[in-house]
Point group: C2
Chain length 356, copies 2
C-alpha cells in the first residue's frame, strides 16, 4: 500500500516537496459536527478504546478538511492508565486521575505496560485507520513527553500553579527521576509499537515543558525526550537517517535552548506562535524541520484575515523545504470548520511558490 501523499514525511526529513504539508493539532475533535455526532453516542474514553470509533473520527478531517495526515484519535493519558493509574472522565474538565502519584510506593506500584496487550486498542485503531485510508495520507501516532506525563500523574489533572509537581521536583528530585525513567521506558515501547502498527510518523507532545526554568527543563524534560527518541530509534533497528520514521517534538512554551533542542534527536520541532519561524529556522533549521505556528485564534477571523496571517507564517519560514504547517497549539472547539478549510486550501495552493 504505497502512500499517495507522503509530503509530511518528506518535509519532516527536510527533503524536497512540491508544497508545504499541513495538518491541524487536535484536528479530530469537537469543532467538527461529524465528530460531535459520534461523541453524542459514546463517551470520550470509549471512543479512544474502540478502534472502529477512533478510526472513524481520525479519518473525518482527511475527508472534510483535506489535511495531509491523519493523527490517531487517542489521549496522552492512556500511558499512565496502562501503567496502572485509574483514569476518570470528569465532564467539562477532561480526564482526571483520582489517585495522583505522591510517594515512592506509588511509583514502585506502577507497572511496565506491554503495548501489545495493555494498549492494544490504540495499535488496532492505527492498523484499522491505515487500512481504511488505503494510502491516501500517512497516519500520525503520538504520546506525551515524559515530563508532561509525570505532571499529569502528580497533579492528577491540568493545573494553574503546578504546585504538586513543583513540590516533587524541588523536594524529591530522586523520586521525580525514577518516575521519569519509568515513563520514558513505557513510552518508548508504546511509540515503537505504534510505528510497528502502521504510524508513519509520530509526535511527542510536551504540553507542560514551558512551566520550568531553562535549567530545570534540561534536567527534567529535555534529557528524557532525548532518551525516549534514541530508544525508539534503537528499537526500530538500523536504518538510514533519511528512511526511519520521523519524530516531531512539540515543547509547548519553550523559547530557549534552541541550540540544545536541535540535538534532541527529533526530526522536526513544533513551535508556538510566540516564536518567529524565521529566527527559529536560523537557529535550528539546518539540522531539523520546523512545524507550526499559526495562532489558533486566528481561525476566528474572516477568511481574508486568515489567509493574510497564513501567508505571514509561510513568509516567516521562507523559501525552501523542511516546514510542516500547523497551528501553534490545539484548535479551539468553537472554530467554524469552513475557516479551517479556508486555511488548508490556502496553504496547499500558496505554499507552492515557496518550493521552487
Amino acid at each position: 500500500m504505497k502512500l499517495q501523499n507522503d509530503l509530511i514525511l518528506r518535509a519532516a526529513k527536510r527533503l524536497p516537496t512540491e508544497r508545504t504539508p499541513i495538518w491541524i493539532m487536535r484536528q479530530a475533535g469537537r469543532y467538527l459536527p461529524e465528530y460531535r455526532a459520534v461523541r453524542a453516542k459514546h463517551d470520550f474514553l470509549t471512543m479512544c478504546k474502540t478502534p472502529e470509533l477512533a478510526s472513524e473520527v481520525t479519518i473525518q478531517p482527511v475527508d472534510i478538511i483535506g489535511v495531509d495526515a491523519a493523527i490517531i484519535f487517542s489521549d496522552i493519558l492512556v500511558i499512565p492508565e496502562a501503567m496502572g493509574m485509574h483514569l476518570e472522565m470528569n465532564e467539562g474538565k477532561g480526564p482526571v486521575f483520582t489517585s495522583p502519584i505522591k510517594t515512592k510506593d506509588d511509583v514502585l506500584k506502577l507497572k511496565d505496560p506491554d503495548p501489545s496487550k495493555d494498549l492494544k486498542f490504540v495499535l488496532d485503531a492505527i492498523s484499522l485507520t491505515k487500512k481504511e485510508l488505503n494510502g491516501r495520507v500517512p497516519v500520525i501516532g503520538f504520546a506525551g513527553a515524559p515530563w508532561t506525563i509525570l505532571t499529569y500523574m502528580v497533579e492528577g489533572q491540568g493545573s494553574k500553579s503546578f504546585s504538586k509537581v513543583k513540590k516533587l521536583v524541588y523536594g524529591n528530585p530522586e523520586l521525580a527521576h525514577s518516575l521519569l525513567e519509568k515513563i520514558t521506558k513505557a513510552t518508548a515501547a508504546y511509540l515503537s509499537a505504534q510505528i510497528e502498527a502502521g504510524a508513519s510518523i509520530v509526535q511527542i507532545f510536551d504540553t507542560w515543558a514551558g512551566i520550568l526554568s531553562p535549567r530545570d527543563y534540561q534536567v527534567f524534560a529535555m534529557r528524557y525526550v532525548q532518551q525516549l527518541i534514541s530508544e525508539i530509534k534503537r528499537l526500530q533497528g538500523p536504518a538510514s537517517t533519511e528512511k526511519d520514521t520521523p519524530i516531531i517534538y512539540f515543547p509547548k512554551g519553550v523559547h530557549y535552548l534552541m541550540h540544545e533542542l536541535k540535538e534532541v534527536g527529533a526530526d522536526a520541532i513544533s513551535v508556538d506562535w510566540t516564536l518567529e519561524l524565521e529566527k527559529v529556522r536560523r537557529k535550528i533549521g539546518d539540522k531539523v524541520a520546523i512545524q507550526g505556528n499559526l495562532d489558533p485564534t486566528v481561525l476566528y477571523a474572516e477568511p481574508s484575515f486568515i489567509k493574510r496571517e497564513a501567508r505571514k507564517v509561510l513568509e516567516s519560514f521562507g523559501k525552501g523545504h523542511g516546514h510542516i504547517f500547523n497551528l501553534g497549539h490545539g484548535i479551539l472547539p468553537d472554530i467554524d470548520p469552513a475557516n479551517v478549510k479556508v486555511l488548508v486550501n490556502y496553504v496547499k495552493e500558496e505554499s507552492k511558490s515557496f518550493h521552487h
Copy 2:
C-alpha cells in the same frame, strides 16, 4: 519624611546600592495568616475600598517578612470599574465583569474616570500607608497594562483560550485600538495620581502580554505601555531622569523583543523564571534595571534548596547594580511564610557580596 530605605528606588535607576533589594509579588495576601484574619471579616472588594484595611494588609509583609517595599493592596480591575463596568466578586474565581465589552457602543459608554473622585480609596490608602510607614520603606503603586486590562474587559475574567479578546483583535482591530487608547489615558491619570498621593515607585502588570505573537504584542500591547509611560512622565513635569518616580514594567510571558523592550520607557523590566537574568542583562541591562525572577514554587522546598536557588538568581544577574530581587510571578497562597522569611533574609545578606 525621609526614606530610611530607598534601595529599591536606587536599584530601579541602576544607582549603587549596598545590597540587592527584595519584595515579593502579591506579598500582601493569602499566604499570610495575618492577612487571612482581616480577610475573614471583610470581602475582597471592601478591603480594596477601605483605606484603613488596605493599608493594614499592605504593611503586614514589611513587619512580618521584612521586605524592602510595600506594594499597595488593591486590584488592577478597579480601573475598568471606575470606567463604568460592573465588577463582582465570584468567590474562588476572583473578580468578574458580568457585562464584558462587546460592541462599539460598550466602548463609547465608558467614562474617563477622575482618580481623585472615582479612585479616591486607592489614593487615600496610599497616603495613609505612607504616613503609617513613616519612611521605613517606599510604597509601590500599580496598575494593569492597557492590553491586560482590555483582555479582562473583553473576556469578563481570566481565560484559557482568550477567544473573545482574540476575536476582537483579529476581527475588529479598530475597536480594540480605541478601547486601548481609552484605557491608556485613564491609567496614566490613575498612576500619576498614585505618585501624587505618595507612591515612590509604580509597577505596570502586563499579565496577559504573553498570549500574543511578537508582532501583535508590539501593536496591541507594547505601543500602549510606551504611550502610558511617556504620559506619566509628562504629567510628572520636568525632572532629571535620575530623579523622577521609577516605573517597573512586567510583561509576563514575553521572551522576545528585548531590544525593543529596553526602549519602552520603563526604568526596570520584570521577567519570569523562564528567562535567564544573565542573558536579559546582556541584552538590556545597560539601559534598564531588571527585576526577578525566582520560580514561585521554589518556596515550597526546604530552606537549603530555597537558598541555593536564590543564590543562582543572584549569580545569574551577577555583580553590579540594577537588580531588584523578586519572584518570577505571584506568590502562591499555600506557601509557608517562614520560607518567605528564609528567602528575604538570605537575599539581604548574601547579595552584599554582589555589590562591591
